[in-house]
Symmetry: C2
DNA sequence: CAGCCGTCTTGACGGTTGTCCAAATTATTG
DNA sequence: CAATAATTTGGACAACCGTCAAGACGGCTG
């Protein structure tokens, strides 16, 4: 094992070790990213390590070298997915100069996300459900959920601010609302319901002034 | 095959045939109910037909006799689950004579559901996520989702009625909100977060007057 | 009672799974 | 350049999966 016991017999400098650790971790992320491709396509239940390997440039042995376990791999995937996801609307929030501008920017990104990244998002909902069964997932999933709640809250407070108001509901309720709407829209969209996206946009457009 | 081709050569009376069909279907439901036990424990991804059989009084062959497929079995489970679920709050809705009575009755049932039937509900969220990958699930899942939305809507309209008002939001938004809150609370509850239930109740108690 | 039919059991099948490992390859060090 | 460590490979393994089929069981009908 390479990255295991860093006990007494370490003659390398600390700098060299952290460098190696970084390289090791970069490789892990590289593998996780490749795994996400297949996971998004097939879902957690149907995805095997071999399938992941076959759909990527790596052999299945490498995955076992970098990850102690299948759960370890998927946990890494989830954690990596988080970073991408949470900043999605930040640019819109910081650049928008009016309520309308924020609304339209938010809606545009929402629609684009639903259409272009449907696979990644269904994986998120899949893994969040898995966390209800598999304790190993819970910590990461709860953490991501918190981040997403904070993301929605940033949008809401900015929207309220632009109207000199304050959000009328709690961060938890607001996130629950948007998450529920998005989840429902995603399922309908994947079921080829062409009204899924416009319905979602209409609903959010109607809702935003109500809440803030 | 028993229940397949009912072509030309049927000498039995229609009455006898429907009787047999009913018996056949009752058995299916019996098996589905047994399967739900294991599915609720392990989740879709980890549940095999053999595991279902071993945790029940049936052999794995019976399941293949009554269900053409693993998906067929699970579809039947989902459909059966629906009937149980959708009427849960109906008694409270019809008997409540005041807003407070409805609120307290609803909250009590909500808390009980979250605590006593956590396993069934995590399975529901699991299968709904599976529907995003597996087209065979979509029809049933979308149908159940509609039923649940209607269930929430019955509560909301009754609550509004008792205050001589009308609900301020759409059925879809309302369902999304409650579903999102419940899902989040369920995950926290399963992660042994003792504040999950009271937090949910507080949130709903605060939300109800806002919405209607 | 004999024969049939619906029901159920049991074991087997090919394929896939996660895991592990020994050997090959590449990088890094002395 | 040697030698040591890190990385990668691809095959082997037992266990498990969904599916199937041959046959046993038991009740009903003729």
């Amino acid at each position: 094992m390479a990255r295991q016991a860093t006990g007494a017999a370490q003659r390398v400098t600390v700098a060299a070790e952290t460098l190696r650790d970084e390289k090791f971790n970069a490789r892990r992320i590289e593998l996780a990213e490749a795994a996400l491709e297949t996971l998004g396509e097939l879902g957690f239940a149907r995805t095997s390590l071999r399938e992941i390997a076959q759909n990527s440039a790596f052999t299945h042995g490498v995955f076992h070298y970098y990850f102690s376990d299948k759960l370890d791999l998927i946990c890494c995937c989830v954690r990596h997915y988080k970073a991408k996801c949470v900043t999605r609307y930040d640019e819109v929030v910081t650049t928008a100069r009016s309520r309308d501008e924020l609304t339209e920017g938010f809606l545009a990104k929402l629609a684009a996300t639903l259409q272009d990244e449907a696979r990644m998002h269904r994986l998120w909902y899949d893994l969040r459900s898995q966390a209800m069964f598999e304790p190993a997932f819970r910590k990461d999933v709860l953490e991501i959920d918190k981040s997403l709640e904070a993301m929605i809250w940033r949008i809401a407070t900015r929207y309220a601010e632009l109207g000199n108001r304050k959000p009328a509901s709690s961060p938890a309720a607001l996130y629950a609302l948007f998450d529920g709407l998005f989840q429902s829209a995603l399922l309908r969209h994947l079921a080829s319901d062409e009204k899924a996206v416009p319905d979602l946009l209409d609903e959010v457009r109607r809702l935003l002034p109500t809440i803030c």
